[in-house]
């Protein structure tokens, strides 16, 4: 008997509860009736407005209205989170203090052998720590936890390149940025005007990115994870996220570290970008990118933000 069996036997198995079932059914039916009444009124209004082609037009209108309603609810939820985020206190180090920000990441890194141009990709799991002083100087430390080839093809390419040295578990990479240089993104390019900001994101002015709205969406999540943003910049990023076409609310989800949050996704033909927010303070818990090409979503890169504190 294994431990799962042991637990099942130890806890016993509650029997069915017809009374509880009927109470739950009554609540569900009340919800169904409320939904049914709402749908009927909407359908009736459509029939009054159209002519001979009423059925075809109604179907098209309903198909347009239902997704629009979902997006509107999604946009509303994102804007609500934006309001919550803008009410949070900003954290900035004073003289003598350091802001320590940490995250866990699982990301792809491309390598190119300079001698022969052969390229290959590695999947790297690492812990990030970023220390920001009062002047804005940044010291970033990345500790590698594990390294794998992204695919068999990447391993083959690496072997063809002569099996050069690879990063390994335990390696520490350090980088330093002077005041005014936030490292991977341009803080000053994050406009508080959502329209200007969206242009800046798409054009790569805020940070380099590959083409695609999923990349823009993912970048928004990654930027919101940065503690150096102003409240106005955060609100603008949420507004941009709410305005993007095709953003879907996933509801309650779990992030790569097992934490509970509210998820939102934007899907293209090949990929799904996900941002997971902590509903308590609207800070992003994590960003995820799924590869959809095989038919089953494959999570291939993610970042989980652990938080920032002053020391």
């Amino acid at each position: 008997m294994d431990d799962a069996d042991l637990l099942r036997r130890a806890l016993g198995e509650p029997g069915t509860d017809p009374a509880a079932r009927e109470r739950a059914r009554a609540r569900l039916r009340a919800e169904i009736e409320a939904t049914t009444s709402g749908t009927s009124r909407r359908a009736g209004k459509q029939l009054i407005l159209v002519g001979i082609a009423a059925i075809a037009i109604t179907v098209a209108l309903v198909a347009a209205i239902v997704p629009a309603t979902r997006e509107s609810a999604t946009a509303r939820e994102l804007r609500g989170l934006g309001e919550l985020a803008s009410a949070q206190p900003t954290v900035a180090p004073h003289l003598g203090q350091v802001l320590v920000w940490t995250a866990e990441t699982h990301h792809l890194e491309g390598f190119t052998d300079v001698a022969n141009g052969i390229a290959y990709e590695l999947t790297i799991r690492s812990s990030l720590e970023r220390r920001t002083d009062a002047q804005g100087g940044i010291l970033e430390k990345e500790t590698i936890r594990s390294v794998e080839f992204a695919s068999k093809g990447d391993r083959a390419a690496w072997e063809q390149a002569g099996s050069p040295e690879l990063p390994t578990s335990g390696d520490v990479r350090r980088e330093q940025f002077p005041p005014g240089d936030a490292g991977w993104f341009d803080l000053d390019a994050i406009s508080t005007d959502p329209d200007v900001l969206l242009e800046g994101l798409r054009d790569g002015e805020v940070a380099p990115l590959s083409p695609g709205e999923d990349e823009v969406f993912l970048l928004i999540g990654q930027l919101l994870g940065e503690p150096s943003l102003t409240l106005e910049q955060r609100e603008a990023l949420f507004e941009v996220a709410a305005s993007l076409e095709g953003v879907e609310a996933l509801g309650d989800v779990t992030d790569p570290l097992g934490r509970f949050g509210r998820g939102f996704a934007l899907e293209t033909a090949d990929r799904r970008a996900v941002i997971i927010f902590d509903p308590a303070d609207a800070m992003p818990l994590a960003t995820e990118l799924f590869d959809l090409r095989s038919g089953t979503p494959q999570l291939f890169t993610w970042a989980a933000f652990e938080g920032a504190e002053l020391v």
């Binding site: 637990l7 806890l11 169904i32 939904t35 509970f260």
Partner: protein, 196 residues
């Protein structure tokens, strides 16, 4: 008979169709919720799970014919909100006196389970939430690793490592109890539990 994905698709146009999904899965969700958080909180969670599932039926991923993992995922997330209820419930179970009935004594496996229960339940309380969720979805809901990954929206590798961690901790607790019991001279020896 239509699968859950077909029923959920149908319920978009005819919401009453959702009741078939309710009929299929409510009892199992109630059982799971009550095992985790107790009688009353469990009933509330099971009912709310169905209401949330109805509300979100439009966004159900139709690639999964069975909604079982999806529903357990919703229930598990709701249970996260009730973490105080769960801790209270597990603490209460852990403290219950062990009083084997004659049929328990006649069944060595059942007796084993009863005698190990306090240590097991205490160990459950100390697990990280993600590890506890994964392990209890395996043990109580009898989901496969793939279904647990779907329910918790994490990769399969994460499910495996969470369950491995949970098992490791639980075994340490059980072996601790065995050592204590043996040293007290109950006259019964317990073999090492085998690996799954």
């Amino acid at each position: 008979m239509p699968d859950d994905a077909e029923l959920l698709r149908g319920s978009v146009d005819d919401p009453h169709v959702f009741e078939s999904v309710f009929d299929r899965h409510y009892d199992a969700i109630l059982r799971y919720a009550r095992q985790r958080v107790g009688h009353d909180a469990g009933e509330e969670i099971a009912a709310t799970t169905m209401l949330i599932a109805f509300e979100r039926r439009l966004t159900y991923d139709g690639r999964y014919p069975s909604a079982r993992a999806w529903l357990y995922g919703i229930a598990t997330n709701l249970i996260r909100h009730h973490f105080r209820d769960e801790k209270t419930h597990l603490a209460a179970i852990a403290k219950l006196p062990i009083d084997p009935a004659p049929e328990d004594i006649a069944d060595p496996e059942r007796l084993d389970a009863l005698l190990t229960k306090p240590a097991l339940v205490q160990a459950l309380r100390t697990l990280q939430p993600g590890d506890r969720d994964a392990f209890l979805l395996l043990a109580l809901a009898d989901l496969s690793y793939e279904e647990i990954a779907e329910a918790l929206r994490v990769p399969m590798g994460t499910v495996k490592s969470r369950i491995h961690r949970a098992r490791h901790l639980l075994r340490e607790q059980i072996q601790g109890l065995e050592a204590t019991t043996a040293s007290k001279g109950t006259g019964r020896t317990y073999g090492r539990r085998g690996s799954p």
